[in-house]
Symmetry: C2
Subunit: 342 residues, 2 copies
Amino acid sequence: MVEDRRLAVLRAIVEDYVATEEPVGSKALVERHSLGVSPATVRNDMAALEDEGFIHQPHTSAGRVPTDKGYRLFVDRLTGVKPMSVAERRAITTLLDGAVDLDDVVRRSVRLLSQLTRQVAIVQYPTLSRSTVRHVEFVSLTPTRVMLILILSTGRVEQRLVELGAEVTDEQLADLRARVNQAAAGERIADATQALGRLPDEVAPETAAITRDVVTSLADAMSDHRNDERVAVGGAANLARFGDNFDTAVRPLLEALEEHVVLLKLLGEATTGDSVTVRIGHEGPYSELSSTSVVATGYGPADQAFATLGVVGPTRMDYPGSMAAVRAVARYVSRILDEGHQ
Amino acid sequence: MVEDRRLAVLRAIVEDYVATEEPVGSKALVERHSLGVSPATVRNDMAALEDEGFIHQPHTSAGRVPTDKGYRLFVDRLTGVKPMSVAERRAITTLLDGAVDLDDVVRRSVRLLSQLTRQVAIVQYPTLSRSTVRHVEFVSLTPTRVMLILILSTGRVEQRLVELGAEVTDEQLADLRARVNQAAAGERIADATQALGRLPDEVAPETAAITRDVVTSLADAMSDHRNDERVAVGGAANLARFGDNFDTAVRPLLEALEEHVVLLKLLGEATTGDSVTVRIGHEGPYSELSSTSVVATGYGPADQAFATLGVVGPTRMDYPGSMAAVRAVARYVSRILDEGHQ
DNA sequence: CTTGGCACTCACGCTCAGCGAGTGCCAGTC
DNA sequence: GACTGGCACTCGCTGAGCGTGAGTGCCAAG
């Protein structure tokens, strides 16, 4: 009973603080929420909550502010994921349906997410490792130069220019194209690399060298994990609304946004499986970012999450709303990747 | 004589103000620069410069600050382009030489430019319009679905999935591939589009419909100017050093960085030909950005500039250094594009 | 034209008092 | 035992007042 009310008080404090950005006092609380008790009672509850470390007083004679621990409890037990409005759902579908390729999907997602949450959005490009090879194309530029085009199931295209040690005829190239595709098409990256590795031994001796060049280059393209480290960032302008503490909050975050590796760590650590995960303030790996929270989730076809997206904002953020937006966008993007490129 | 000294005073004011970020007074000036005259004389010069609108006093009893007009004079007549150090040149070459494709070139350039100038760097992706078609590839996915891959001279690859109204055989496809490439390869976008437009009338009647589908899709891909509107931005963390006036300077710029269209306008208006152009404060098209300057230049193979890059920073920035960095990076990127993809 | 001198201005930083939101505690009530 | 009204107390915020000093403009002399 009493315990329940205390939690209600905590929830009210979090909600009010997020809304007003100012320490919230007992009187304001009972006015804005119908708690059914007097300010004095709320004060008692607040004292208890403070003892337990859920809230904190910036100074005597000020209202209370949630601590990271308080936010944690709020996120874990006091709130569900806020349902998205119809308008928001429609915005998601219409915007994302218009995407023409993988890059476009990522760019649109980032934009969408930052607009929905009014926070900084981060979307990791889908990693290559779990995708499969759809097709390999050969374009002969000169007799000794071939451009390889590797098309993956995610819609990603890698290209490599190969300098061959010897001239190659169109027939040899056509043969090679057929063999390579037979070996690799439909296979996962790892399997395709293996299968391709056996090719040079299977072809006619005079084309073995050329085949080896091509296979090497393809293996390189497939193992190219540059994309793993690529992320798109959007909504940095929302940092402007951080208001105070430019130096302690905005600057470090701005710096982090430049370092994609840092972002990936931030997203990665926050993500387990495909459920929405929240990392609050000091819970994260970077002490400079102790006043920012991360709301992230994995996404990808079916239940094999193979990339991560999320938002970064002040600990004082709208968790239910952000979680809802992150989840909704992740789901929709997953579906698009699923449909477009199975 | 006197006129010369006045300009020397202006130059000294600009340099000191850029270095210290504080209004500079007459006494400090004669101490830091060997002007060979007394503070009183400098004061007279300052009064004259103020009358002419080159400098400005924030308030009585404060030092002087250059006006936009003052910076303009400084840039136009009082400074050359600072030569790059050997270390800087080496940094440019080694970093950019490691780039593997067009995207990578752009990303590296942005990073490089922001590090060299400690400002926000902006690099526009090379536009399609002046590039030529290198090759068109066809990949049959199902009997009625073909993926088109358009490879341009800039190294850019566009892909399009085409749903055909009817089934197509491999022979038809091979024939189409040959015809399309013969018509388009080596041609500029505009010419290629025209040549392709005539194709449906030249092929066998039964493949005319399919040809039309393909040609339409290719024309779409070629006229797709999405890339024209793409820019890469880097070094936003440098905004942190803007110091004061977060709301008046940083916030609007942060917002502008999100709007790539705005950035393009910013860069575009600042650029004529392939010489480095400087746009100072209010000279730009956006009044919100009246305390930021743009240093930009066109770049591209030979003398046909076909994209723009530059930096954006506070009007109080190191113009000679920025101009040097922008010019050096632009030249080097142009050379890379030239070599890699003629 | 330059210079030293001098009176003047005014932003900045400091202190200090008054205000008021908010608290903790206590005695009384249900 | 839990809740409530009352009350004294705390302390950050605000604004006024004041001294300081950097920097100026002007003037008379070199």
